[in-house]
């Protein structure tokens, strides 16, 4: 089966004092069935806004989707009514957040929260819903699942809360799970457990996962394909092997080289100079040009397109010039 989620030319902006500021400038990508796609970027890259745009959870923020399509199983989510979208959320598309405490209701017993979700979407009655809830908790590796049903979120540790959150979000067999930094707040040993759990669930249910993270280690561990974002744009997209073995975009390469690696024995780390540009002061040409060590004249004048080549794409004049010389340029946009 083809793509599960297809995002076409998505543009999202924020209302600010100085009018609308575009923070995501027309991005395209897809997530297939049974695939874990990593959406990587630093703060300010627009990765979280992308996930909220897909879920259409921007009302609590000054954000608004300006343009584009979000095709889920052949249907444009942006054209759905809020009522229909609400039925989709938690049922077809689910989302887990970095800090589960903020997404769980602190004054409601865990069992009740899961049962509520189940009865809302699965049309199950009391006892059956309860059994399903317990089995979901067990399936995410929670010991004493029956007791936990009667506990409150604050009685659990961070790792346990994240498991509860995962159990809740997968209880209605969603086809797509969006995980926004799900392990960032957790300790490494717990992070490893949660990553294993997500991988297992994905293999069992064949759901698609969009994994939003800043941690390239997590990406390498769990993802099949990677999308790298910078300043509200996709700058590179490739399979996880290609990204790590042969990054095309200088930003991707810089990111990978910036991570300290155990046993590398380097005295100095590679570092990308400068910082992410603010939406107010975006450079004119390539948005990465001011920090790039391969910058050329054209980079400051014109922004390169996201060019496709052998199933991977990159937004860089460097690779595009090379391929133009070789005469195999294809435009992704």
């Amino acid at each position: 089966m083809g793509s599960l989620l297809q995002v076409n030319n998505l543009k999202t902006g924020f209302h600010t004092e100085d009018g609308m500021q575009t923070v995501i400038t027309g991005i395209d990508f897809e997530v297939n069935h049974g695939e874990i796609v990593g959406l990587v970027g630093e703060s300010g890259s627009g990765k979280s806004v992308t996930s909220l745009s897909i879920m259409q959870l921007l009302h609590d923020t000054p954000g608004e989707i300006i343009d584009g399509e979000i095709i889920y199983k052949g249907e444009d989510l942006l054209k759905l009514s809020e009522k229909k979208m609400r039925q989709y959320r938690g049922n077809e598309l689910s989302m887990i957040f970095q800090e589960p405490m903020t997404s769980l209701n602190p004054v409601m017993k865990i069992g009740k929260q899961i049962i509520e979700t189940i009865s809302l979407h699965l049309n199950m009655s009391g006892q059956k819903a309860k059994q399903h809830a317990v089995s979901m908790l067990e399936s995410v590796g929670i010991p004493r699942a029956k007791d936990i049903m009667n506990e409150y979120p604050h009685q659990l540790s961070g790792g346990m809360r994240q498991r509860v959150m995962i159990a809740m979000q997968i209880s209605c067999n969603p086809s797509l799970l969006i995980a926004d930094e799900p392990t960032t707040a957790l300790d490494v040993t717990i992070q490893a457990q949660i990553l294993d759990l997500l991988k297992d669930i994905q293999e069992k249910t064949n759901m698609g996962i969009l994994m939003i993270t800043h941690d390239l280690g997590v990406v390498a561990e769990i993802c099949d394909r990677v999308i790298v974002m910078y300043a509200g744009r996709i700058v590179e997209q490739a399979t996880v092997k290609e990204i790590f073995n042969n990054p095309k975009h200088p930003y991707t390469k810089g990111l990978i080289d910036s991570i300290p690696k155990i046993g590398a024995g380097l005295d100095e780390l590679y570092s990308i100079p400068g910082a992410v540009p603010s939406p107010k002061n975006m450079p004119k040409g390539c948005k990465f040009a001011p920090r790039c060590e391969h910058v050329m004249d054209i980079c400051n004048l014109e922004e390169p397109a996201l060019a496709m080549e052998n199933g991977r794409s990159s937004r860089c004049w460097l690779t595009q010039e090379q391929s133009q010389q070789e005469g195999v340029v294809g435009h992704g946009q």
């Binding site: 959870l57 609590d60 923020t61 000054p62 209701n105 979700t117 809740m168």
Partner: protein
């Protein structure tokens, strides 16, 4: 489901609008709060009246005119005249000075004492905190006005003692608010980092914690001025405040209550300015709170 998918905005990448100037930034937001903005204009007008009032009055506010007693508003006397034939508009204009200066200085005094107590209480905690807070509880237990009446009864009537009385019941509310803010700020990392460079307690409280509580203080100061005007007016009304013959708004109300049946305007106009002034200070405080201290609002 929706309710559980609440989003913590702090984790999000919302572009921050940074302004070089804090005041400009504040003003840009404040400008949008229309009621507060109008209140601010009104308060400015009052302040202006305080300064130039005596120079712009149409009549001498103390000059009786036995030919025109208890006249209803006319073009000559826009607000009418009182039982001695004095022009009510002129009296109100001149009265702004005494009424406002009493309430503002009372609240100022209450703020200073309350802030110091609140900082000490919040920062040192333990028995100091307990002692100060229990005293505040006792003060809180009395209705404001009864407390003020009691104090004036002990000290004797007069403007100075009204100021002290009104200041007195402002102390506990400021002490509590500042203590609350201090408790919050005290736990912040920059306080610990100041301590780690060796800053003394006084320095930490004064240079690091106090500045953080200023917005809250400004907000409550503004709001309490409104209440203080009412209290001062009430004391005057009861004959415990300003000299009854003076043009203090409360005293005006007090003196004219005998005529409420026949000459309604005697009560109406002083009452109206008190009402508008109190409202303006409250709305201004509300607006300031929305901008300066968004947390307490939700």
């Amino acid at each position: 489901m929706m309710s559980k998918l609440q989003i913590e905005t702090s984790t999000m990448e919302i572009p921050k609008v940074k302004s070089e100037n804090r005041f400009l930034n504040f003003w840009r937001q404040f400008r949008k709060k229309k009621p507060a903005l109008f209140s601010l204009y009104f308060v400015f007008l009052l302040l202006l009246t305080m300064v130039i009032g005596p120079h712009i009055v149409p009549y001498d506010p103390a000059e009786p005119n036995y030919n025109r007693l208890l006249e209803f508003p006319t073009l000559d006397h826009l607000f009418g005249t009182d039982e001695y034939g004095r022009d009510i508009l002129s009296r109100i204009i001149v009265g702004a000075r005494i009424t406002l200066s009493v309430s503002v200085s009372a609240v100022l005094l209450g703020t200073v004492v309350g802030t110091v107590l609140g900082l000490v209480s919040g920062f040192f905690g333990k028995w100091v905190d307990k002692a100060i807070m229990r005293i505040c509880d006792v003060l809180f237990a009395f209705p404001d006005l009864i407390l003020a009446i009691g104090i004036v009864a002990i000290l004797g009537p007069g403007v100075r003692n009204v100021i002290i009385a009104v200041a007195f019941f402002n102390i506990p509310s400021f002490a509590r608010i500042v203590r609350g803010a201090t408790l919050e700020v005290k736990e912040m990392l920059f306080v610990e980092s100041a301590r780690s460079v060796g800053a003394s307690t006084t320095r930490i409280v004064w240079k690091h914690i106090f500045p953080e509580t200023i917005p809250v203080i400004i907000v409550y100061f503004t709001m309490n001025v409104g209440t203080a005007i009412l209290s001062a007016a009430s004391l005057s009304f009861l004959g415990l405040g300003a000299d009854p013959s003076s043009s203090d708004w409360g005293a005006m109300l007090s003196m004219s209550r005998d005529y409420i049946g026949s000459s309604f305007h005697l009560v109406f106009f002083p009452g109206l300015v008190i009402f508008l002034t109190v409202l303006a200070f409250n709305l201004l405080g509300d607006g300031l709170r929305d901008v300066l201290d968004p947390k307490t609002n939700d």
